[in-house]
Point group: C2
Chain length 338, copies 2
DNA sequence: CTGAAAGCGCTTACAG
DNA sequence: CTGAAAGCGCTTACAG
């Protein structure tokens, strides 16, 4: 590893001259400059980031806190990672990946040891302890998600409460009055996974306002057996269901469609079907109407916001920005049959 | 951010004493030690990693080079990330995520600026330029994959050539003589994605040896329309196909099963079906026989190997370790019908 | 136009 | 049992 001394020796100048040539912060005689550049090139010299950081310069690294819960849908994680990493790179930032169950100490560790300039939070809970920890840290935090204890962080997310309301309004307009909402698996709701809970609760509340009954059932699994069992239970409790909303994924919805067919129910003539909080079903054999997560848009905005803060353009911690959800029609929502 | 000076002042000792208390490299009088610990706790002191690194200590960070190609199957990336991050953490290492199209400069940059102690390569090509770059860098590289220019790196992977051979041997034993192999989408094969190519080529070669015809077709997409078109072409070229091998994913295989059913073909009575290089279809409506990638096992071993190198226990760059693939039976492989 | 030197926050050989 | 000081590789105010 060539250091600044090596370059200086080779070019026959002082180390400060090398430094100034590299940074361009001082005008250097063309000839000298050229000698230095040449030496640096020959030695493959890159200034040590650690030495720079020690002097107080930014590390140009962002911590990405990605909790892993039993209900985490790995298959979609990469979309967020990619969106975040790509956007961050545009600003010259790298991503330090923290995959953990509960990330409080992890965050404290990487910040207090000076490894990162800022923090991105993924998979936020309704009450997220990381948002508390963030208050004690001296780098800004942007949550990709909207915790209710949002006062110590910046938050960017889709407006999942609005999504919940709009799903029900759509259903109502089509004449549906008895709706089944199929939730994700595991302890997502008990833990308080923020978007699932917000969307569900807003849907249930809007249903109550409009006189639409919304029966919620979380999934025990996405396999065929789980799906059938859930449908058996739901229809025995409420035989007049005319619509199903899924907060699940492509594979589950696929299975659900087969299970409905097995029951002799046609979509959308006999029963309407849509996804909410899904990650896209367009690739599926039978895509469904959906209001998807929009990782790319949300993540880009999250990084942009963090940059605004890091560049000193804003200091309004607690700021929350909610983006509008989108409705994608695929023909699986219809008027209530009879 | 409290520094070592603050702690020293608060405890009324010199900074070297604080350092020795933190590291435990010198015996300190119990009372002094306690005062220092107390002060450190009160100030929330964590030694600066940058200062340490500057003195030549390891950064405890590993670079993870994750190329993004047009054919990259995002949905499975997270599995590798998670397996790698989890294993690395066990050794106290964090992961610096590099998501890029071609990562040569990225690797040079993070290494020469002193950000990482080692490198992990994902999604390796048959001839991977990153393996060339690795030779010029002074930290070790472990490829999760097996490039043919493996002399500058350590390689860990499933034995995909063996997988290709075993798939054909299995088919042969069941009487199949005309086989369709459905490949991944995009430029995966042109680019030379190492495992896809190795598995396919070994299968074709073994087929030639045994007198089994293996027709290979890469996918134009995983949607229903693509699948049907591919089947139309394949059957018109070879009406006697009795088996299909898929180097694709769950969603594609799902669609394929529907398409076969539409053609009036039963699995496995009329046609046998299996996946190779897949990421698991157990969750699917109709799981298939498969020889899957095994991210968790391969990634764990890759990290272990990198640690062996970093700890100085081995210095045999170019070492290649291939793990045995596994066969998972789900009842979609049968004797050739007639 | 360029250089000598202080200092960032640590660790560790040297001294007592 | 503990402290003063050198040095890791940089940047930048100070000097010429």
């Amino acid at each position: 590893m060539a250091g600044i001394k090596d370059v200086a020796a080779r070019a026959g100048v002082s180390i400060s001259t090398v430094s100034y040539v590299m940074s361009g912060k001082r005008s250097i005689k063309a000839a000298t400059k050229e000698r230095v550049m040449q030496a640096a090139r020959e030695l493959g010299y890159t200034p040590s980031l650690n030495a720079r950081t020690l002097r107080g310069e930014p590390t140009k690294v962002l911590a990405l806190s990605s909790p892993i819960h039993d209900y985490t849908d790995y298959s979609n994680y990469a979309l967020f990672f990619f969106a975040l990493a790509t956007r961050a790179k545009r600003y010259g930032y790298d991503i330090l990946l923290l995959m953990h169950e509960y990330g409080d100490q992890e965050l404290t560790r990487v910040v207090s040891s000076g490894m990162v300039d800022g923090i991105l939070l993924l998979d936020v809970l309704m009450v997220d302890s990381r948002a508390e920890v963030a208050k004690t840290l001296d780098v800004p935090t942007v949550a990709v998600g909207y915790p209710s204890n949002s006062d110590g962080v910046y938050s960017v997310d889709l407006d999942f409460e609005r999504m919940g309301r709009e799903v029900i309004e759509k259903a109502y307009a089509l004449g549906h009055r008895k709706i089944l909402m199929v939730g994700s698996t595991g302890f997502a709701y008990e833990d308080g996974s923020n978007y699932l809970v917000r969307c569900r609760d807003a849907a249930v509340k809007r249903g109550a306002d409009l006189g639409v009954s919304v029966m919620f059932k979380s999934s025990t699994g996405y396999g065929m057996a789980d799906v059938k069992l859930l449908l058996d239970e739901a229809f025995s409790e409420e035989p007049d269901l005319s619509m199903i909303i899924c907060q699940t994924n492509s594979a589950h919805i696929q299975n659900l469609q087969v299970a409905l067919q097995d029951r002799g129910l046609r979509v959308p003539q006999d029963i309407s079907l849509m996804g909410a909080c899904t990650y896209g079903t367009a690739q599926s054999t039978r895509p469904v109407d959906e209001m998807p997560m929009q990782p790319s848009q949300v993540c880009s905005r999250a990084v942009d916001l963090l940059m605004e803060v890091l560049e000193g353009h804003r200091r309004d911690v607690g700021y929350v920005e909610l983006m509008s959800p989108e409705y994608l029609a695929r023909g699986t929502m219809g008027l209530r049959g009879n």
